[in-house]
């Protein structure tokens, strides 16, 4: 019976997540078909388990009536003692209970602190001493394939066509990647974006980072992507405040990372409400 409850619970949890759309807060929707199929498999498994349990109950009863002698037949499974049973099934029930009853938490600056963040290396960094003490791979290695050139060139054209690069939910990751790959192209161009504020350790009053979590497969592999912002005046935003900003891009040498990173000199900004879908997803 407990097995049926667990299987049914898994089906219910996945069904619930799909029905409410909350599944996007756990995994990249590109992989949602996998969990969608799982709803039916778990439905089948739980019905099968229910029938099996039912028939077993009947059989056991019949056998009892006939005073059948089972030599060597032990009813115990691997999980023989009650304590062990409790542990095994309790463990499987745990994600079901917490998944269904606890509210979904959104990844925020708290996770940034734990996971840290990186910036892709910038190619136009001419200073050979800038990366002293840190291994610096030749990023060109990865770019040798023609295909990548083609892809990034087409991206480059796409995002580089106007004077304004507007990063939204759909183009956030690819757009930012292009910015980091060809920072020269975007210098003095206008970029607009939204994200949550994050104060690293070494930024002054008019500096902060604007980040969004990008998801590849599930939120366990989420990473932060964003840019450093420089305001014309001192600002007092807290971590996790969501901002919509617009500004012109330049680059700056960022001491803690010992590398040059793009920075957005913000001209217009205002606080916004956290979007319904706080994450951006990596399309292939």
């Amino acid at each position: 019976m407990i097995r049926f409850i667990i299987l049914f619970g898994f089906m219910y949890l996945l069904f619930h997540l799909h029905a409410t759309g909350d599944i996007s807060k756990y995994i990249n929707m590109r992989y949602a078909y996998l969990t969608f199929i799982m709803i039916f498999i778990f439905a089948f498994m739980s019905i099968y388990q229910l029938i099996k349990w039912n028939m077993q109950g009947k059989k056991d009863k019949k056998e009892e009536e006939h005073h059948h002698d089972h030599h060597g037949h032990d009813h115990s499974h691997d999980e023989n003692t009650i304590w062990k049973k409790f542990l095994v099934y309790g463990l499987l029930l745990l994600p079901l209970i917490t998944g269904i009853f606890l509210p979904i938490a959104t990844l925020n600056s708290n996770i940034v602190k734990a996971k840290g963040f990186h910036f892709a290396e910038i190619d136009n960094d001419k200073d050979p001493y800038a990366n002293h003490g840190i291994l610096r791979p030749n990023t060109r290695l990865y770019y040798s394939a023609d295909a990548y050139e083609k892809m990034s060139v087409s991206d480059r054209k796409k995002y580089d066509s106007g004077n304004i690069l507007a990063l939204n939910d759909g183009n956030y990751l690819r757009g930012l990647e292009t910015v980091y790959n060809f920072p020269g192209d975007f210098t003095n161009k206008t970029i607009s974006m939204r994200g949550f504020a994050y104060h690293g350790d070494a930024t002054s009053k008019n500096q902060l980072f604007l980040f969004r979590f990008g998801i590849i497969h599930c939120i366990a592999d989420a990473g932060v992507f964003g840019m450093m912002l420089k305001f014309p005046e001192n600002v007092n935003y807290k971590d996790d405040d969501w901002l919509q900003v617009q500004g012109t891009m330049s680059t700056v040498f960022y001491q803690p990372f010992q590398q040059t990173i793009p920075v957005l000199n913000v001209t217009k900004w205002h606080v916004i409400k956290a979007p319904k879908d706080p994450y951006v997803y990596r399309p292939y």
Binding site: L17, M38, Y48, G72, Y89, L94, H118, L135, A145, D221
Partner: protein, 312 residues
């Protein structure tokens, strides 16, 4: 604190949701092996020579799409069917790395370039082969934990008993009707799901806690020399417990900080050993064997990626 716990829970749930489809596929394949493939078929198929059988295991792993947690029950099923342990281990090590989905993900993550794909796959093959060889010299028997053998025996005796009940005179599984076989297969898959599932839950929970409470960012500053940075990336791969389809994207985000050799180590080691599948391996195989296996994987991955970053 409450917020951290809720985030921990969300990451935990997402790891479980992400892995469950692969686990279910894994237990069904394991059940199919258990019911439809006989030991005689395997004995005919697997070469006696240890080199060839390891080679065959490596190739089978390359053809077989699975992730590192789904493959553990499959390997268990193979070993129970008397596939030589070293061949099964070679299969287990290449399965999660060399398959179309993972290759494609790696190709895309590293800017549509084959270089990382080739490095990752060739190191995986080398590791699987050498580790398989080491295992074949160190261990002779199947190294499954006792209760798994007991479980198998019990299943066998139950089948026999059932036959006794129904006054069947048949001796073996292959005399069952297809319907019975399918039923037996589903029963098997369900049992396996419950025995593997709990370890997935424990593993996912530990991995989620690591992500929330351990500052992995500090790790990246430890990697100053080629050797230490490889070790750091291997440790990181172990702690993060990413699925082998997603880890390429994480690795590519470390491009600025770590050299190619360390990234290769991350991609190969993480797909072979991580918290999630360590717990699952411990549930299947004997402790001494699992730790020998991990130690040899660690050494070979380390030496291999060191060699790769220095000479290739």
């Amino acid at each position: 604190m409450v917020q951290s716990l809720l985030q921990l829970n969300s990451i935990f749930i997402s790891l479980v949701i992400e892995a469950v489809p692969f686990i279910v596929v894994g237990v069904f394949i394991s059940a199919i092996i258990q019911i439809f493939i006989t030991e005689e078929m395997i004995a005919k198929f697997i070469p006696k020579n240890r080199f060839f059988s390891i080679l065959l295991g490596t190739c089978m792993g390359s053809l077989f799409p699975a992730c590192e947690c789904g493959i553990v029950p499959i390997t268990e099923g193979l070993v129970r069917k008397k596939v030589p342990l070293h061949a099964a281990i070679a299969f287990m090590l290449t399965g999660p790395i060399i398959n179309p989905i993972v290759i494609f993900a790696t190709y895309v993550a590293f800017g549509n370039s084959w270089e990382m794909v080739i490095r990752r796959c060739s190191l995986a093959i080398v590791v699987a082969f050498i580790v398989g060889l080491v295992i074949s010299y160190l261990f002779n028997d199947d190294q499954l934990r006792e209760f798994i053998n007991k479980k198998a025996q019990k299943a066998q005796s139950q089948v026999n008993k059932k036959k006794h009940h129904h006054h069947h005179d048949h001796e073996h599984l292959h005399s069952m009707t297809t319907m019975e076989k399918v039923k037996e297969m589903i029963n098997h898959a369900l049992d396996e799901f419950f025995s593997v599932g709990k370890f997935l839950v424990i593993g996912a929970f530990i991995a989620a806690s690591m992500q929330v409470f351990v500052k992995t960012s500090t790790l990246s500053f430890l990697g100053h020399t080629v050797a230490t940075s490889i070790l750091v990336m291997m440790l990181l791969a172990f702690l993060l417990s990413l699925c082998s389809e997603a880890d390429a994207f994480i690795a590519s985000s470390f491009r600025g900080t770590f050299a190619t050799g360390s990234l290769t180590a991350f991609l190969v080691f993480g797909a072979m050993v991580d918290i999630k599948n360590l717990i699952m391996m411990l549930s299947t195989f004997k402790k001494r064997f699992v730790f020998t296996l991990i130690a040899s994987i660690t050494v070979v991955v380390f030496v291999g990626s060191l060699f790769g970053s220095l000479f290739i």
